[in-house]
Amino acid sequence: MSPGTEFRLAPRLMTRERMRWYVDIQETVQQDTGRIVTQPPTIHDDDAYAKKQGLPGIISDGMVSTNWILGLLVDVFGPDAATRGRLRTKYIAPIYEDQAVIACAKLASVTNDAGNAVYDLEVWCEDDKGKKLTVGDARVYAAAR
């Protein structure tokens, strides 16, 4: 694995269901009752509410993109990608219903830290035309590959 190597997940459509899964998981996590807990209307699952807030329609919660990037890093580096390091993501464009989203990462550098490799990466999500929607960077500590 050398600098410049690029990784990407298959395209996924940001469907209404995917947006709602993230909406409802938020209260479910906080209440931790063993059941799914739904939320009042949000800009991620209610068209009328989103329009009232100045949006053309519902948009995805940025954390969905961040989690898809995390999933890509775990696919590439294994569980180490989730146990030490850094992930930064900035949501530079709204993601609308049924827009295609592709999670991507590009290795910027590999250094050594006490026997472990330190991987620094550019990360992003883009649509099916290559337009960047989410940008950021990541650092992963893992065994050398």
Partner: protein, 144 residues
């Protein structure tokens, strides 16, 4: 001090929490299922949480420090920035605390930056998370 009412009231220097909770395997599996993180470490042999779950500590802290809710406008998440010091363990008491480090205006929109410190209740640091939100998508006042 701008805690005690709406999230939109928050200002630099505000401290939210600390709050105590324990991360359950149910929470990890459900959160990962919702985000299509189907890797074995998140669905079967669950020993730690995905670090992205720290983002929901913000909502736990809002609930305690801003009991009246979001305020007149919907928030939009702008940036996630988490440094992971150690795995977030399941079934271990945890403590999260938030500090509002910045509030500023840019192009007519209000931004709030909160730093969340997540550690075990025994004090071992787990994640330092810097969260940036826009308080209203519409410029100059959102839905008002």
């Amino acid at each position: 001090m701008a805690t005690g009412r709406y999230v939109t009231d928050l200002d630099k220097g505000d401290v939210l929490g600390p709050i105590d909770y324990t991360m359950s395997k149910f929470v990890v599996r459900e959160y990962c299922h919702a985000n299509e993180l189907h890797q074995d470490c998140f669905q079967n042999d669950v020993k730690f949480a995905p670090p992205t779950l720290v983002h929901l500590d913000k909502l736990r802290l809002y609930k305690v420090a801003c009991p009246a809710g979001t305020g007149p406008t919907a928030r939009v998440h702008y940036e996630y920035d988490a440094t992971i010091h150690a795995p977030i363990p399941v079934d271990v008491p945890l403590r999260a605390k938030g500090t509002v480090t910045e509030r500023y205006e840019k192009k007519g929109r209000q931004y709030v930056v909160m730093e969340i410190d997540l550690r075990t209740a025994a004090g071992a640091p787990l994640v330092t998370y810097r969260d940036t939100v826009i308080l209203a998508y519409k410029q100059d006042g959102g839905a008002q």
